[in-house]
């Protein structure tokens, strides 16, 4: 039964891919359309379950990239087909599905899932079968212990040390740098990991940590927590949030008639925070926004436009490309570069190429020769200004005229 479904879906996806490829290929007459037996790239996303918020974003980004790659040369002249399965947000399901992709569907290559737990489950399978796995959303690089696993997002090998310093540098540049900080974090592994780094680095740099609080991921009521934050009244509020937790914290603070002076949010849902009046001047982590200088990178403008169109069509409330979608785009760019560079679909050859070379991605030029196959850390800071996210730090990534606003 499982197999029959697979066939049905494969035909379906293939028809879509071929159709789209034809449409894209038509104007570029000079380019030979990929032909022959398709190269099948397997992967899972959490299309259902509690991680499903992000899956749609990743799916759209992947579809854009498959079309783009097929519009060029495919993989080694053959069309690319993305065999996507639903891991139901469960690592045990993810593990079995990667085994299905590799041992039953016999895909040529694999692509990573989303979120730490499914990624680690998939990584174990990749390791057993010697497959290259590229992932974009594992915020704890030291867990990536497999030598053929590659990060598509430039966290750098030790983001818990590097990124807090980026944030503290930005704060230090303000006319009145904060002297005290409140750190509030969800007990979600990647958020807590960064929050602990933030505490250590703040103490090192003489910013006094007035309050360090961890709340359960999925916490419903922030009233009491807000009361504690208000009472501590620090110069800087750092929130290790996911999803809508930041909105909840800020709303709870507003109900106490309190506006935090400077406030940073780690991985919030971008749309609701930027659009909320409470999100004014909120700082947030990012790797890319659809503005200069990022839009000048090759292909980004087109990808951003394609994303906007498809996300709107898919009824997503926030149809603007951001670091979430860019991660998936980067995954495919790295895989494409690896295949082209190795001139082979052989995983070992691809991994060897990636380790020795750099790849130009939507995130700029990435290297994979550092610890845990990470290269430079390029985690940036954006700020909600006038209902839009603007990259403000490091200043070389800020669009002309955009400045970090403090209070």
């Amino acid at each position: 039964m499982v197999d029959r479904m697979g066939t049905w879906r494969r035909r379906h996806v293939l028809a879509g891919v071929v159709g789209a490829t034809a449409a894209l290929a038509a104007p570029s007459i000079l380019r030979a359309a990929p032909s022959g037996k398709p190269v099948r790239v397997g992967g899972t996303l959490s299309l259902t379950g509690f991680l499903a918020q992000t899956a749609q974003i990743h799916k759209i980004a992947a579809e854009i990239m498959v079309e783009e790659i097929n519009g060029r040369n495919g993989f080694l002249g053959r069309p690319v087909e993305y065999v996507l399965l639903d891991d139901q947000s469960k690592p045990d399901v993810a593990r079995s599905l990667y085994e299905k992709l590799i041992t039953v569907d016999k895909v040529d290559l694999i692509q990573g899932p989303y979120a730490t737990a499914p990624i680690l489950a998939a990584m174990g399978v990749a390791q057993r079968y010697g497959k290259v796995i590229i992932q974009s959303s594992m915020g704890i690089p030291k867990l990536q212990t497999y030598e053929m696993a590659f990060p598509a997002t430039p966290f750098g090998p030790n983001p818990e040390q590097t990124y807090p310093n980026v944030i503290l540098d930005a704060m230090a540049s303000l006319p009145t740098p904060p002297k005290t900080i409140v750190i509030l974090t969800s007990k979600f592994p990647s958020a807590q990991f960064m929050a602990q780094g933030m505490r250590t680095q703040s103490e090192k740099r003489g910013v006094k940590v007035l309050l360090y609080l961890e709340y359960e991921s999925g916490n419903r009521d922030f009233g009491a927590i807000a009361a504690r934050v208000k009472e501590a009244n620090a110069d800087f509020l750092w929130v290790g949030s996911l999803g809508l937790e930041s909105n909840q914290v800020l709303e709870a603070l507003r109900k106490l008639d309190y506006t935090p002076k400077n406030h940073f949010h780690l991985y919030p849902a971008p749309g609701p925070l930027a659009l909320s009046p409470d999100g004014k001047n909120a700082l947030c982590s990012t790797f890319l926004e659809p503005a200069e200088p990022f839009m000048s990178r090759p292909g980004v403008a087109r990808q951003a436009a394609a994303y906007k169109e498809r996300a709107t069509k898919a009824n997503l409330p926030y149809a603007i490309i951001d670091a979430q979608a860019a991660g998936m785009i980067s995954e495919w760019q790295i895989l494409e570069a690896g295949v082209n560079g190795a001139k082979s679909l052989d995983d070992k050859a691809i991994a060897a190429f990636l380790k020795k070379n750099t790849v130009d991605t939507i995130y700029g030029t990435l290297r994979f020769d550092g610890p845990y196959n990470h290269g430079n850390a390029e985690q940036l800071i954006k700020q909600a200004q006038g209902g839009q996210w603007k990259v403000v730090w490091p200043t070389k990534y800020a669009a002309p005229g955009v400045k970090l606003i403090g209070s």
Binding site: M1, V2, M5, G6, R9, H12, V13, L45, L47, T48, K59, V83, L84, L85, D86, D87, Q88, K90, P91, D92, V93, R95, S96, L97, E99, K100, I102, T103, V104, T116, A117, L120, A121, M123, G124, R128, I140, L143, T145, K187, F188, P189, Q192, F193, E214, E216, S217, G218
Partner: protein, 581 residues
């Protein structure tokens, strides 16, 4: 080839085929898929041991499973214990947790039904939060990639498969064994009516503890293995609420009172969930699974296995029309009443809150005697039966049976000392056949005997009470008269020294009353001593050797039937009212 050989052969073949699968070169996915099926089968079967068999519905199965996962994760990563050695530890710790909860909860009679479900759910949340906030997890998750996997099979998935399979076979074997043992019989009785089970001699507390420990222990071991399969544990993923819900769903869909039911439910649901995994149809697939489950539960509320069993039973019933063999009740000459006291009640008091139900009752009952216990409503007759049988603890005084003090013993031990009782409103075990109802009483009430002997004894008493031909009927298929006689058959099967009858005649028509009176005489002829509570004066006078009259919790009069009946005091407090009514 006898009827049992075929399923046995199939089971052996099935086990052999599944055991050699990893060496047969099938793609690793199938090993993993089957592992996941084994995982859910083991988990839902272990749930059924307590919640299906004994009816203690738990929503906290994730707690035991999760404790097992974290035991293995902690021991392997923080203490470098070899993985295989941690699995028994995971089982032990989960079982201890179950025993700990049971030791508190099972002492409180009111914590049944939804309160028990809620309590187990609350325990899950508490344990999850403790693990989240202590170094066991701390919020960062536990990554187990560095833990070495034993080389049982050539591949890692093969090894996990074999472990999952072994666990699954072991779990099913345990469930089969329990279902076909004294323990299982006792648990089924607890499911239907715990108080009656206790009164019939089932050590309910001990049995519930055993079921809880087994259930939790298996879940813990399953969790221990699963930790290795998942490889990265988070509290949120481990203690997810949908885990116990799916476990319940699987067990109930298959039939949670049958040892094989959860296996069928788990296999069907897991296969369904894997049928819709590809990106294009994932969401619709989930909805389809939901709809299938709704339809399945609506049509088969008791599960697949009971439905099949019922169908088989109906087919068999159609083929062989049962012949109702009516064994005539032979009236026997009364044996002389002995001089020895079989029951000695001394200054017994029983208080419920502010209500003094029994206030210093003294009563002796002689061996072989029939003692009629009468009195107006609320005079304490049924309460006296309840304290003698151990259903209520005494407030004060002593009760001795055959010279041995039983006043402070739990009901099942009182039953073990030869005291049996019936209920005014029959309380049969509703999901057990007539034969099983009586066999249970024989198993737990009488001396230890082999199963075949117990069956013969049960059949004897069924025939004795005129229920022959109804052996395979469920109590719901009997009329009131027959249910009253089933009460008697159950009491007799325990071979009691002392039989306490609570209004066996109420609600019967005159012909049935005559029948019942003859039956009581026949019982006495077998050598039992009888204390019976009755309102019907004709029967009391006809049957009793002596009559005891209770009034307002005190022994008011005692003596030969006709003398007591003529006592003007008795007439004034009792007979006048009774006749008036």
């Amino acid at each position: 080839m006898n009827a049992n050989a075929l399923p046995r052969l199939a089971a052996v073949l099935g086990i052999a085929v599944f055991a050699i699968l990893p060496t047969a070169g099938v793609p690793a996915f199938y090993e993993s898929f089957f592992y996941i099926v084994f995982f859910w089968v083991s988990l839902s079967t272990s749930w059924a041991l307590l919640s299906g068999f004994a009816g203690y519905f738990s929503l906290g199965h994730a707690a035991f499973f999760g404790v097992g996962m974290y035991t293995t994760a902690t021991l392997t990563t923080q203490f470098q214990v070899p993985f295989l050695a941690t699995v028994p530890a995971a089982a032990a710790i989960a079982a201890l947790l179950g025993i700990g909860i049971g030791a508190v909860v099972f002492r409180l009679k009111r914590l049944r039904g939804e309160l028990f479900a809620l309590l187990t759910l609350a325990v899950t949340f508490v344990i999850a939060t403790i693990i989240l906030n202590t170094p066991i997890d701390g919020g960062a998750g536990v990554f187990m990639s560095a833990v070495p996997m034993p080389d049982i099979m050539p591949t890692q998935t093969g090894t996990i498969y074999v472990l999952g399979f072994a666990m699954c076979v072991l779990t099913l074997a345990i469930a089969w064994k329990v279902a076909h043992s004294r323990l299982g019989m006792g648990l089924y009785a607890i499911h239907d009516d715990e108080d009656v089970a206790e009164a019939k001699g089932v050590p309910t507390f001990r049995y519930k503890m055993a079921a809880f420990a087994l259930s939790a222990g298996i879940a813990g071991a399953v969790g221990g293995i699963h930790a290795m399969y998942v490889g990265f544990l988070t509290v949120g993923g481990t203690f997810e609420l949908t885990v116990p819900l799916y476990v319940v769903l699987m067990s109930v869909l298959g039939g949670s009172r049958h040892w094989l039911g959860p296996m069928i439910g788990a296999t069907v649901i897991t296969t369904l969930l894997y049928a819709f995994i590809s990106g294009g149809e994932a969401m619709i697939g989930r909805a389809i699974v939901g709809l299938i489950l709704i339809v399945a539960i609506l049509w088969l509320p008791d599960g697949v296995v009971p439905a099949v069993q019922q169908w088989l039973r109906r087919r068999k019933a159609a083929e062989v029309e049962p012949v109702a063999v009516v064994v005539p009740v032979v009236p026997a000459a009364a044996r002389p009443v002995g001089d020895r006291n079989i029951l000695e009640v001394r200054s017994v008091t029983k208080r419920f809150g502010g209500l003094q139900a029994l206030d210093g009752v003294d009563l002796d009952v002689r061996e072989g005697e029939i003692l009629g216990l009468v009195g107006p409503n609320g005079s304490g007759k049924t309460t006296l039966i309840n304290v003698i049988s151990g259903h209520f603890p005494l407030t004060g005084g002593t009760i001795a049976v055959d010279g041995v003090e039983i006043g402070r013993l739990p009901a099942h031990e009182v039953a073990g000392r030869g005291v049996a009782r019936t209920y005014q409103i029959p309380r049969p075990f509703v999901n057990m056949t007539v034969l099983d109802n009586v066999a249970l009483a024989a198993t737990f009430g009488g001396p230890t005997r082999p199963a075949a002997e117990i069956r013969d004894e049960a059949l004897h008493w069924i025939a004795f009470t005129g229920l022959a031909g109804k052996e395979d009927s469920l109590p719901a298929e009997l009329n009131l008269h027959e249910r009253k006689f089933l009460e008697l058959a159950r009491a007799l099967a325990a071979r009691p020294k002392l039989l306490l009858l609570d209004e066996v005649l109420s609600g019967l028509n005159p012909a049935e009353v005559d029948n019942a009176i003859r039956l009581v005489r026949a019982i006495r002829a077998q050598g039992a001593t009888i204390v019976f509570v009755e309102h019907l004066m004709r029967a009391v006078v006809e049957l009793s050797d002596r009559i005891a009259v209770l009034n307002e919790g005190k022994l008011f009069a005692l003596g030969a039937p006709r003398e007591v009946m003529r006592d003007p005091r008795v007439i004034s407090i009792y007979l006048g009212k009774a006749y008036a009514a």
